[in-house]
Amino acid sequence: MSQEQSQTPSSLITSEEEWLADQVRRSVWTGPLSKFIDLLDLIYNWGRRNSIWPMGFGLACCAIEMICTSATRFDIARFGMELFRATPRQADLMIVAGTVTKKMAPAVVRLYNQMAEPKYVVAMGACASGGGPFKEGYNVVSGVDKLIPVDVYIPGCPPTPQALLYGLMQLQKKIDRQSIRDVPWYRKGISEGVPEPILGPDLMDARRLEEITALAANPEQLAARAVQFHKPTKGEKKE
């Protein structure tokens, strides 16, 4: 993350403070332009946080609370987010509202990949955060952060519209703290996107295929990985 700037040759560093100052100079863009960059950040983030366009991605019950948030009583338009785009190509924010099932997982990842940077993901509800009450099911992904990176988690089942608005305000605060010096979409190189999971005998995460094959061929190693939970018997003492 270093830029071309004055770098003190290592032979001239004599104390810890100087070393630290040198590291900061190497890593952080400071200098006369820094105040201007801060002002630019202010305007850039102000524009972005006040006009986030969510993608309508209501999956289940939380979607109804999302619709109620965009209705008259809890007017999400006051935050600039009334324009729910149907297509991910025009959206900034994916509010994952509802349980993500394994059958739906490839679609979720594909939609995330189709969104253009800068993009954010809000996991709304207990199901999207961590599987929710349906976590024990065989067709439920325990939290959408198993598939895509999440920025804000909003717990609740379902979170009331006011809770959702609070979560969106937290997202706005997060956007305020970003700076064009280190945002990922101005880095060099193309982001590959998340590989889509494959619907096989069970959902297969495409980043773990070798691991799955190796473990499936080695049952003892597989069994050793499970953390055993303590099943109490009557009269047993706590260790």
Binding site: L59, C61, T72, A107, G137, C157, L199, E210, T213, A216
Partner: protein
């Protein structure tokens, strides 16, 4: 009324008793009946189709309520519930047994079209093949999924113990993430020696239909298959439709379901009876009070208890408020699909917000109410609630109903887009097992509150509005009329509500239901919601099945959409009023 009505005496006799029906079957097919009991008629597998045809044609059992299956560990049992539209009353139960290895049963689709999706679901969940089914593929899980989930020997990846409450939570309950307990560190399990890198998913099936080409076409047209993906602003949730189009005309529609399959039935078998109540909230998430009510009356029938008077009135008030707000929201979304983007929807949602305020003040949550208990309701309603409810019912709700009707009923655009679109003829509506406003709009005067009255609905005066043609306009008008009838029932209930207890017996979380089975049903705003509960005498259900009205109403989608434009298909889907939480459970 019925298309081919035989002699009046035979169809008018009370035929709800399994013994009587079994005698009649024996006169025709002497060797078909294996056993008869109060729980139903057990038939021989190879005579099933003949008996079904006999019941349908001669005894006028024209409506197939429910097809489900039970895993009795040494054999499988497929259970059917049939009613007659004209006679009403409780359904009769037919059962067929089949062996555990290579289970197969003849399909009832040639007689009852409504068995289509339900038999596919039984195949998907239990692995029972249905011979003669036109399209036997998995419906809720994907092709290539390994295992039949509702079998008793299927252990899901996060399997902990057979029944709740789990011993690991108390006394020595150290918190463990379920991911860490599973060896794959995720909610997955794979067969041994799986080669994940070389795995190729099975080819997606593509609908193939013959399109009739018009005699004179200047343009050479071709069919395309359009995927209305699970993420679409107008599919009312994660529904996927494979539409075969010719130009802009729809030739075939095939719904692909299961994108919200949250394993309600498997979790239901692990839960206790009381623990299932909050899960029923999440089936049709618009009508959580009505779902609670249907489940509560099913288990109360099995327990043999009745709630006190005040609780019954409270239940009816909550159910009818739910019906009003569900229809208002459904109409709002219907207007959305038609293109009146959002304005009528937010007007309808305003009154819904006020009703949800009432629910929140009483039950604790706007949508997931968890309010009914076995023997009554959880909390009492205050005088403030009655006062606010009376104001709503007398002033605001009728005004809003009139407004919702006045926006569109004479609107020329709406009339042009909804008259004679999506027609479902009367006999097909019955044969497809549709229920609720979809059935009534096709001219069938059938409502579970009249056919098999539950709670105290037999004390209230209300009409059953029906349509004539069965098109989009009729479904719309039937919903408006039902909103008015709900207001009528609410007025009566709010006048008559007595003071008193709200619960029979003491608060009890360890409900033990005696051994037996029950199919309990209620008239949900979307149709007939049925719960089929089989109990083995313990604190957890042995089998727990939900007869979801939206799921079965979707069977008729293809019939209604063929020949119309694709823009009409969206509106027809909106008029069936589906909720994916219920379709996929």
């Amino acid at each position: 009324m019925a298309a081919n009505a035989p002699a009046v005496t035979e169809t008018q006799m009370p035929l709800n008793d399994p013994q009587v029906v079994a005698e009649k079957i024996k006169t025709q097919y002497p060797d078909a009946v294996e056993a008869v009991s109060a729980q139903g008629i057990v038939l021989k597998k190879d005579r099933l189709l003949d008996v079904a045809r006999y019941l349908h044609d001669t005894l006028a059992f024209d409506y197939l309520n429910n097809v489900t299956s039970v895993d009795w560990q040494d054999h499988f049992e497929v259970v059917y519930h049939l009613t007659s539209i004209d006679r009403g009353g409780a359904p009769i139960t037919l059962k067929v047994n089949t062996a555990r290895d290579n289970p197969s049963v003849p399909s009832l689709v040639p007689v009852y079209r409504g068995a289509d999706f339900q038999e596919r679901e039984v195949y998907d969940m239990m692995g029972i093949r249905f011979e003669g089914h036109p399209n036997l593929r998995r419906i809720l899980m994907w092709e290539g999924f390994e295992g039949y989930p509702l079998r008793k020997d299927y252990k899901e990846p996060y399997y902990e113990e057979e029944k709740k409450p789990f011993g690991s939570r108390w006394d020595q309950g150290y918190h463990v993430f379920a991911e860490d307990r599973n060896p794959w560190h995720d909610n997955v399990q794979y067969p041994a020696h799986l080669d994940a890198l070389a795995y190729k998913p099975p080819r997606e099936s593509v609908p193939v239909i013959e399109a009739t080409q018009a005699a004179t076409t200047r343009l050479r047209t071709d069919k395309i298959i359009l995927n209305f993906g699970p993420q679409h602003p107008s599919t009312h949730g994660v529904l996927r439709l494979k539409v075969t189009l010719e130009g802009e005309t729809v030739r075939a529609v095939e719904p692909v379901l299961g994108y919200l399959h949250r394993n309600h039935e498997k979790i239901g078998e692990r839960n206790t009876y009381l623990g299932n109540m909050p899960f029923t909230d999440r089936l049709d998430y618009f009508t959580s009070m009505a779902n609670n009510l249907a489940y509560a009356i099913t288990v109360e029938k099995m327990l043999g208890i009745k709630p006190p008077e005040r609780a019954e009135y409270i239940r009816v008030i909550m159910a009818e408020l739910t019906r009003w707000q569900n229809h208002a929201a459904a109409l709002g979304f219907l207007y959305n699909d038609l293109g009146a983007f959002y304005t009528p929807l937010i007007y309808a949602l305003e009154e819904r917000e006020l009703i949800l305020d009432l629910f929140e003040a009483t039950a604790g949550s706007r949508m997931m109410c968890n309010y009914m208990r076995f023997g009554g309701v959880a909390r009492d309603v205050t005088d403030d609630f009655i006062d606010k409810c009376k104001y709503l019912v007398n002033e605001r709700l009728p005004r809003r109903t009139d407004e919702l009707e006045a926006y569109m009923a004479k609107n020329e655009l709406f009339l042009a887009r909804s008259k004679n679109i999506g027609i479902l003829p009367r006999d097909l509506a019955i044969n497809y097992s549709t229920a609720g406003p979809v059935l009534r709009a096709s001219g069938v005067k059938y409502d579970v509150r009249r056919a098999e009255p539950y709670s105290i609905y037999d004390r209230f005066e209300f009409d059953i509005p029906t349509g004539t043609v069965g098109d989009l306009y009729d479904r719309f008008m039937v919903r408006i009329a039902e909103m008015r009838q709900s207001i009528k029932i609410l007025k009566q209930a709010l006048e008559q509500i007595p003071p008193g207890d709200i619960m029979t017996g003491k608060k009890n979380y360890q409900v033990r239901v005696p051994k037996g089975e029950m199919y309990g049903r209620a008239e949900n705003p979307k149709g007939e919601l049925g719960f089929y509960v089989v109990s083995d005498g313990s604190a957890n259900p042995y089998r727990y099945h939900v007869r979801a009205p939206s799921f079965i109403n979707l069977t008729a989608l293809n019939q209604m959409c063929v020949g119309h434009k694709i823009a009409d298909m969206i509106v027809i889907l909106g008029s069936i009023d589906i909720v994916m939480g219920e379709v996929d459970r």
